[in-house]
């Protein structure tokens, strides 16, 4: 299950991040790394971008990026 499979309002825990180094580092600098708790805040109309909260940070990302984050429902 990945971040892209979650619905608005659902929470999950990050299991692994399969992205390439640059993106992985980028995620990590925002606090999105293994073990982090995430919550889906909003999804755009065309299902192309989503807003995710990690700790006190809110992140916007494309579904393509969200697919690289494996999560586990909590």
């Amino acid at each position: 299950m990945t971040l892209a499979d979650l619905n608005t309002g659902q929470s999950a825990k990050v299991v692994t991040i399969n992205a390439q180094d640059a993106l992985k580092k980028r995620f990590s600098s925002f606090g999105l790394r293994k073990g982090a708790l995430v919550n889906i805040q909003a999804v755009s109309m065309t299902k192309s971008t989503m807003e995710v909260s990690v700790g006190a940070t809110k992140l916007a990302m494309r579904f393509e990026e969200a697919k690289e984050v494996a999560v586990q429902m909590v």
């Binding site: 180094d21 993106l23 580092k25 980028r26 995620f27 990590s28 807003e51 809110k58 992140l59 990302m61």
Partner: protein, 698 residues
């Protein structure tokens, strides 16, 4: 006097600029110097007998080289000389902010931490033990609020104190496993009494982090033979413990754990977090259905403001420059000197200064979008659509700005962090017809479609330009700036009320830069055009006409002859020769040499296209788009098909000289300007050719 150089570092949206503004306050002497592409701001002032210089580095989430901003910051911190790092952190989001702090600690520089936004943190019930945090990090932490100005004096005093004392070593302590390996290597280096510019712990750290430079340095020294097995064992222990062979990952984990630990030990929450205002505002602003209409409404409002309010001072500025030109002619006479000052310098610079009000309003709007946090929401809304064309959600600001003027549009493309995204955006900004192209469109639309349809034609022209631009973006993405799409991962910062002082400061510096440009290279370009259209002189022709004019007594006849003379002179001027020389290139589009010249002078500024056409069609230079007789002349001399091709060409080809220079600066290389020239000329030619042949069918 003692000097103190401070590097101001922090993540984006932590109130760095605001803090800088509060620190320097009225003592402000801002020297905004732009680097290659990203600006660093420097502020200098005297405090209690110390000359303090603060360099405001671009905000960055971490010290990697993912984006241009990050690279600028990283390069500065690693290679420039400064006395201490002032790390600004957002007290309401400490853990994420401390992640950058841990990377800064590894630089082994003197450092002080400003816990900013304490006022906001208090409201949210966040309580931070700054003393304890300072002990854990090994650097002083000062609570401040840039908004209420609390703690600012203390912060500066601590900076000065810190500069006077010897450097304390960083206290970044890793997990036991990593510390043990570090200890092994450090003690080996100590036993061998290895000499190096760095201390042994730092060196050991760099070895474990697989720092290329350190490996290169040590590789050829005798100690390497013995060091290698120790290092290998240390790494294999770490790999085993962390279950990964990626050393970067291991250190990321370590830093994250440290930051988390520091927060757990020093931060407490006194009351339930107050209601999330940001979330409630977002529920409306990024609403699935209403989000985009709301955004469009804001943009519409901004443009209304830009053009409605902007047009009021524009009239004054216009009147001022006309009066100045008349005054210059009366002082310097109607001869060469008067002409070069009035028709060259004043007319050219005046045409550019004219747009200052529009530019100020537009910059005000953009600054507002940026500082409130709304910009990221728009990027979120539009990314889906823009992405289809190979653009990034954030491209919309430069593109929309491009309808006003390409110069600020190119500059605002800086908000795009990725090089390829930025380049594609820069390349298609010109497709969004700028305000200066409007006179050309108005002239031709009026000439061929009458006043009742001109408005619709204008609208079609603008829309068509934008659509061709999107197509061009797709083309560039597929064939030129190809490669995998850059990820779109962006922070959506909290909504915050903007500081109008700060916004005014931004608008003011940007306007100043714009004026400076008008006074420098717009001035030189105007003089050049003036020269090329006035030389070489042909006195025989002038004398012949002077006699003819003397012989006729009728005033209208005289005026007509004078216009004819102007046209004849222009035809044999350098500019005229260029036009004749390049005409074959434009012949397939149905342009005569006059239209060709008009396009070429338009390279200096698009407004000049109309005035050149006016001169060339023998009406004298005092022509504007509302002049009925120029419309008549155009109708008489230019076939519809050529006119269509002309408008299409103007729509697409290279933006004005000023914009081209800015483009070169923002893209980082004159090479790209050459590409832009070739690209836009080819597209303009092809589109105009197609338009010409289509129009001929009707």
């Amino acid at each position: 006097m003692k000097t103190l150089n401070i590097a101001l570092v922090g993540q984006p949206n932590v109130g760095k600029s605001m803090l800088l503004n509060s620190i320097s306050n009225s003592r402000l002497r801002v020297g905004n110097f732009s680097g290659v592409t990203v600006e660093k701001a420097e502020v200098s002032f005297v405090f209690h007998g110390t000359q303090i210089t603060i360099t405001d580095l671009p905000g960055t989430y971490s010290l990697s080289d993912y984006t241009l901003d990050e690279r600028v910051t990283k390069d500065f911190l690693e290679h420039e000389s400064y006395d201490l790092i002032l790390n600004v952190v957002d007290a309401t989001n400490l853990e994420r902010n401390l992640f950058l702090t841990t990377q800064l600690l590894e630089l082994n520089k003197k450092m002080i931490i400003a816990l900013n936004m304490m006022d906001e943190a208090k409201k949210e019930g966040v309580c931070i033990d700054d003393e304890q945090l300072g002990i854990i990090l090994g650097v002083p932490c000062v609570k401040v609020s840039a908004v209420t100005k609390r703690g600012i004096g203390k912060l500066i005093n601590r900076c000065i104190d810190l500069a006077n004392f010897n450097q304390e070593l960083s206290k970044l302590i890793y997990s036991d496993v990593l510390e043990e390996e570090l200890q092994n290597i450090t003690s080996f280096l100590s036993e061998k009494k290895y000499k190096h510019e760095l201390d042994h712990r730092t060196l050991a750290l760099k070895l474990l982090q697989e720092n290329k430079k350190t490996y290169k340095q040590m590789h050829d020294t005798p100690i390497w033979v013995e060091l290698l097995p120790i290092l290998r064992e240390a790494l294999s222990h770490l790999y085993l413990h962390y279950d990964t062979k990626n050393i970067d990952d291991i250190f990321e984990d370590e830093r994250a754990a440290f930051a988390k630990g520091a927060v757990v030990e020093t931060v407490s929450y006194h009351k339930q977090k107050s209601k999330d205002i940001t979330q409630r505002v977002d529920a409306l602003l990024i609403h699935k259905i209403f989000g985009i209409p709301i955004f469009l409404f804001f943009m519409w409002g901004l443009f209304q403001l830009t053009f409605e309010i902007g047009s009021i001072p524009m009239e004054w500025i216009d009147a001022f420059f006309v009066a100045l030109g008349v005054a210059a002619k009366s002082i310097f006479g109607n001869g060469e000197l008067g002409s070069i000052i009035a028709d060259g310098a004043i007319a050219g610079v005046g045409a550019v200064v004219l747009f200052l009000p529009n530019i100020m309003i537009l910059f005000f709007g953009i600054a507002l979008l940026e500082t409130t946090g709304y910009m990221s929401r728009v990027a979120f809304l539009l990314d889906g659509f823009f992405h289809k064309f190979g653009l990034h959600g954030k491209s919309f600001i430069p593109l929309v700005t491009g309808f006003g003027c390409s110069v600020p549009a190119y500059m605002s493309a800086r908000t795009l962090k990725n090089d390829k995204d930025r380049l594609i955006t820069l390349f298609i900004i010109g497709f969004m017809s700028c305000g200066a192209k409007l006179p050309v469109y108005v002239l031709f639309a009026g000439a061929f479609f009458g006043t009742e349809n001109a408005g619709n034609v204008l609208f079609i022209i603008y829309i068509m330009g934008a659509l061709i631009g999107l197509g061009a973006a797709k083309f560039l993405k597929i064939f030129i700036f190809k490669g995998k799409d850059e990820p779109f991962v962006m922070e959506m910062p909290k909504y915050r009320l903007p500081s109008f002082k700060l916004i005014w400061h931004t608008v003011f510096t940007k306007s100043l830069m714009y004026l400076k440009k008008a006074g420098t290279f717009i001035l030189s370009a105007s003089l050049l055009i003036w020269f090329a259209s006035n030389y070489p002189k042909n006195y025989e022709l002038q004398n012949a006409y002077a006699q003819k004019i003397e012989l006729t007594s009728e005033v209208t006849q005289q005026a007509m002859l004078a216009n004819e003379l102007n046209a004849a002179l222009l035809e044999q001027s350098f500019l005229g020769k260029v036009g004749k020389f390049t005409q074959p290139f434009f012949a397939p589009l149905g342009f005569d040499w006059k239209m060709s010249v008009a396009l070429e002078t338009g390279l200096a500024a698009k407004e000049i296209v109309v005035s050149t056409l006016g001169v060339l069609y023998a009406l004298g230079a005092e022509v504007d788009e509302a002049n009925d007789s120029l419309i008549g002349e155009i109708k008489k001399n230019i076939p519809l098909a050529s006119a269509v091709a002309f408008v299409l060409f103007v729509m697409i080809y290279l933006p004005c000289f000023a914009a081209s220079i800015v483009f070169a600066k923002e893209s980082g290389s004159y090479k790209y300007l050459l590409y832009l020239f070739v690209f836009t000329t080819i597209v303009a030619w092809l589109v105009a050719f197609a338009g010409y042949n289509l129009a001929k069918l009707f």
